[in-house]
């Protein structure tokens, strides 16, 4: 039971990290687009790719938490 709750805390901490990361990416992208609206498409593409990278790190943590749980 203790192991399960520790794994859940780990997954939660990973979610905090990913949240900050994706928030920063979104902030950067919106600022970039508002400064240079004509570059919106390129910025959006790189924003999605960067967000996927950050998300992947969070998911690594979730997988590790899950494996640790089992």
């Amino acid at each position: 039971m203790v192991v399960g709750s520790v794994a859940a805390i780990g997954a939660g901490i990973a979610a905090i990290g990913a949240g900050i990361g994706i928030g920063q990416i979104g902030k950067g992208a919106v600022e970039g687009i508002s400064r240079q609206p004509e570059a919106a498409n390129d910025i959006r593409a790189s924003m999605i790719v960067a967000a996927a990278f950050v998300e992947a790190v969070a998911l690594f943590a979730v997988v590790v938490a899950l494996l640790g749980n089992g």
Binding site: I48, V49, A56, L59, V62, V63, G70
Partner: protein, 382 residues
């Protein structure tokens, strides 16, 4: 006049009452049914309450039969190779009439234990020594789903290819061609060309195959019932195979500059070169491993999320939990559609990037030279 309005009022009241009443009975009936199924599934495992983790992991795992509906599932061929030779039998032999694992007497006595076929002794215990000798080459749910994907890919691309052969590339695309052409051009113009450069044509077949294989498997994984339902791209063996292909392709197409940058980084002090070589060497392996885990984790996490939300109904043991759970499941599923495309795109893009890094000719200074395509120039002109 007054009588008529009273009559219609009565009808309205009565039908309203009936409607409320009937939904209430429906709901009760549903709850009873859900509880019954929940009870059945928990009875099948251990007595006690509904185990969420077990249920979710069971849905994520590969299986020897393909669930169709209710208590019906499609038995798949089991192919085993042991020291007594090859044997093929239907997986229907491995379950009894109550869908519980049963012993099948082939060359050895086989029984499915936690989804894997094991040799059991007459007393029912697992014989680990003999189990290690048996190689399982079965057409499992994932393999069958992969074969289905291959069929879909062949049907789509052979028909599109024959359409191009008939009308040529200069005429406007028709039918399925119009759907595939923009996606193929997207892979070429957004993925291959910017990352690989002028040598992109050689790698297009690989990139397109990987892209559409992952995409179609991701989409099939989102379908909760029969033709879908297998968790192929959320299976680490599948993503590992793809990553191994990327690894081989990158390292076999790597040129002199690529290996020089790994073992003897140019433009550095010799001590730094010694320091960097092992790091770069590890980097060769971590790149495909990250590809493998990224796809696996993204797809698996999506499935876990959807299954957890559905499990909420069984945790609260009331059908009213579905008022929250079902809209959330729909919402997550829509996001998963985006993720399905995004992960196919990212896997392909990173593969292209690694290939581009391995085949780059010039030196590191201008890592990414400014890249203009037609649309950029058009925007400048306007």
């Amino acid at each position: 006049m007054a009588r008529r309005s009273v009559q219609s009022l009565l009808v309205a009241t009565f039908s309203l009452f009936l409607a409320t009443f009937s939904t209430a009975t429906y709901a009760q009936h549903d709850t009873a049914q859900h509880e019954a199924t929940a009870e059945v599934s928990s009875h099948e495992k251990k007595e006690g309450e509904f185990n969420v983790t077990e249920t979710i992991l069971e849905h994520l795992k590969d299986d020897h039969s393909w669930h169709l509906w209710g208590h019906t599932s499609l038995p798949l061929p089991v192919i085993l190779y042991s020291d007594k030779g090859l044997e093929v039998f239907s997986s229907a032999n491995l379950v009894d009439e109550h869908h519980a694992p049963a012993v099948y007497n082939g060359n050895y006595a086989y029984k499915t234990i936690e989804g894997k076929i094991r040799v059991v002794n007459p007393d029912g215990a697992v014989n680990t020594e003999l189990s290690a000798k048996v190689w399982d080459f079965s057409i499992t749910k994932n393999v069958a789903s992969l074969l289905l994907t291959v069929t879909i890919l062949l049907l789509i691309f052979l028909s599109v290819a024959s359409a191009y052969r008939k009308t040529g590339v200069k005429t406007a695309p028709k039918g399925l061609q119009s759907l595939m052409e923009p996606i193929i051009l997207f892979v070429r113009d957004e993925v291959a060309k910017p990352n690989i450069g002028h040598r992109y044509a050689k790698y297009m077949p690989f990139l397109l195959t990987v892209f559409f294989l992952i995409l179609i498997n991701n989409f099939l994984g989102l379908v909760p019932f029969f033709p879908g339902g297998a968790n192929v791209s959320g299976n680490i063996a599948f993503t590992m195979t793809l990553a191994v292909f990327v690894f081989l392709l990158v390292n076999f197409s790597g040129n002199k500059t690529y290996w020089e940058h790994i073992f003897w980084m140019p433009g550095m002090h010799w001590s730094m070169k010694l320091f960097l070589a092992p790091i770069e060497l590890v980097g060769i392996f971590t790149k495909p491993i990250s590809l493998m885990i990224r796809l696996f984790a993204n797809i698996t996490a999506g499935h876990i999320l959807v299954l957890s939300l559905v499990c909420l109904i069984f945790i609260f043991k009331t059908v009213y939990a579905s008022v929250v759970a079902v809209p959330f499941v729909v919402f997550i599923s829509v996001i998963e559609l985006l993720v399905a495309f995004l992960q196919a795109y990212i896997f392909t893009m990173l593969a292209a990037m690694y290939i581009g890094m391995a085949t780059e000719e010039h030196h590191h200074e201008g890592d990414h030279e400014p890249h203009y395509n037609e649309t950029d120039l058009e925007k400048v002109h306007h």
